[in-house]
Symmetry: none
Subunit: 214 residues, 4 copies
DNA sequence: CATGAATGAGTGTTCATTCAT
DNA sequence: AATGAATGAACACTCATTCAT
């Protein structure tokens, strides 16, 4: 009775709908980063977005999970855009690692709220089903890619022998800690932090005796 | 670290009162670790503790902040007891560092709930006033001590030149990430993780050319 | 029963408009029967009808009352068409009664959703103003006709003396109960039910000593 | 740690708690009967009960289902008390039937809201899972008992041959319809209705030729 | 003729906290 | 020392309806 030539149940979002969603997502990021995930109620987000009612958010998002998932997706889009290009320019694994760390930390200046918001979300939903927020698939893939990069570096003789899983864990732990610190410490200097972390992981990964000046 | 005999308005607690507080704190740790900070309501904690009403918790603690502060204090007491002795046995800074990391990670097996709970708390209250939960003073002091240790190591010629602040940041980021991972990943092996992280930070801190096998 | 050419403010409906209304009414019947009156929101009805928004329903109907009224009207039209002819063929009052009961129960197989939907509506709006849904006039008229039929039968000596009001009440109570049961009980057999109910009310109405086999 | 010598998780309700529950149940019956199940929100019930907030209801009942279940249970308790004694005094099945009908209809005068409320509930939850409200078990048992009574009467030669299932269905349909009518029709006379319905079902069940005066 | 964006009141439920007993 | 009753604000979410386009 209703001709649907689209192959799948594709939602076909209107321009104005997309704009509203983006506006709400932006407000959500702001509120989560500023007040924490636990305090990020629809009421606060609506207020931040200048909307008159929370019903508006429910109208544009199927539920809170849907909104949070969109925040995460927005963050991932952003990260991919900023990092992929720069890293592909590097030829050595050590170079890629240094570039990733410094570029990632540099982003803290540009999008301080985004990273913080996602960090809040990741922490807060640990105990609940993380699939709901679309976290697991993206994260797991991202981590596995990084592990593989470390393995490549080891095969190429650039890196010493270590457990790539643990190295990825340490790397992300350090970056997350820096993200949290940046939000709290007014003296935080992202340039210094990026350089120092890059040095740290260069030293932690390179083969014995290989120093950066020979 | 906490002057017990200070002339301040120190409430003299009866034995039974202390026992009740301990019981509630233990229940809170369990619930926070298992269900997340966001879901750790007085109702859930009371149920876990086998208490019939939440009023009991409010009776023994001045408020939620007070309870959380006690959880953190309990954790700090625990960490101090377990780590101080072992580390003091070491003579070199590198040795102390390795001991700290492995002992700290090993504790994940012994007290998985405690660490997870505190991790949840630290993440969740970042946006709110952390002083309220008694986090800031302890953490700041602990971090400054570790920074000073790294500086000692640098002065003694054991460690390369790096920013001790960032090294502490990376170290704790890695350990926190490991804590979170341990709670989620059934394949997590604390022995491997401890050794690998110790290797990682040994390599990251030692002077160029100084390797353990040449 | 409803003067179509009355000089009242009768809205001239276009063909397409009527089609849309019919489509929505059909969807409403489906949803009310399947999910209950309480769950029959415009959103659910629009979805069932394949419409993208609830605004469409509000556009074609002045309000929820209007839609419900149309559902009831559709049901009454249907009942009249199916029953009138068959009953007029009967000459005795007892025959008419039997025919009415069996034909009415038989309709449960043909239009299960319609009857159930109206039953839901009647139950749900009892406490509110039933006039709004166009229930009262039709029902009252229908009941008074049936009462009069019973009186005719009594005058003709076919039926024993009883209060026709109560007999109508019992008859409709039984039929409604059967309607509800049919929707729930997979073992419900409309043929058996129709025959048994007809026997029941034949026995309940006939003069003492008058039996069909002596 | 908490000695519990009770064999089961028996809730052990306080006197005041029971009183509050009863008060809320009474208010719920009032509201459901007066405004319909669909309009019986916690807000309306709280207002009716003179409570200041809906949270109070949630405090005493685990959820809306729990409250509704209690309403039904209260009704069943009431019915059992009023009917059992009277019916047991009768020796013939026909006598029991007559007593049941008249006593049941007479209760409409005494507890008009109770019956109406339960009728509303039964209608409203048909589409949802009726088990949740504790309806199914009680009803099914009650119906099966009545069916068995009819079968006894048939074996004893008091009743004609008919399908007991359908007779129970008709009986309850008629009584329910009377309940609804009583709430709406100011001219409703329960004495007349009771007597007439008793006559009706006596005629509908007795063996051919057996009249009440020989 | 039709749509989808917007509204604001209303839903049941949970929350930390207070207080009389 | 302890209890359980009570509170009222906050929560995410749904509702029928309006209206500009």
């Amino acid at each position: 009775m209703q001709a649907k030539n689209s192959p799948d149940k594709q939602k076909e979002r209107t321009f104005i709908e997309s704009a509203r969603r983006a506006q709400i997502v932006a407000a959500a990021i702001e509120v989560i980063a500023d007040q924490g995930y636990g305090n990020a109620s629809f009421a606060k987000i609506a207020k931040q977005a200048g909307l008159s009612s929370t019903g508006m958010i429910s109208y544009h998002f199927k539920g809170k999970d849907d909104l949070i998932r969109e925040v995460v997706a927005e963050f991932m889009r952003l990260t991919a855009v900023h990092l992929t290009g720069k890293m592909d320019a590097e030829t050595t694994m050590a170079g890629r690692l240094r570039t990733y760390i410094t570029a990632r930390i540099a982003m803290l200046d540009e999008y301080p709220k985004h990273f913080l918001a996602v960090l809040e979300i990741v922490s807060a939903v640990r105990a609940e089903d993380p699939e709901l927020r679309g976290l697991t698939p993206g994260m797991a893939y991202f981590f596995s890619v990084q592990e593989e990069r470390f393995r490549e570096g080891q095969r190429a003789g650039e890196f010493r022998e270590f457990d790539p899983k643990i190295m990825v864990l340490a790397l992300h732990g350090a970056i997350n800690e820096a993200t949290a610190r940046a939000a709290v410490d007014p003296d935080f200097d992202s340039a210094v932090c990026g350089r120092e972390l890059a040095d740290l992981f260069e030293a932690a990964t390179r083969k014995d005796g290989m120093s950066h000046d020979n």
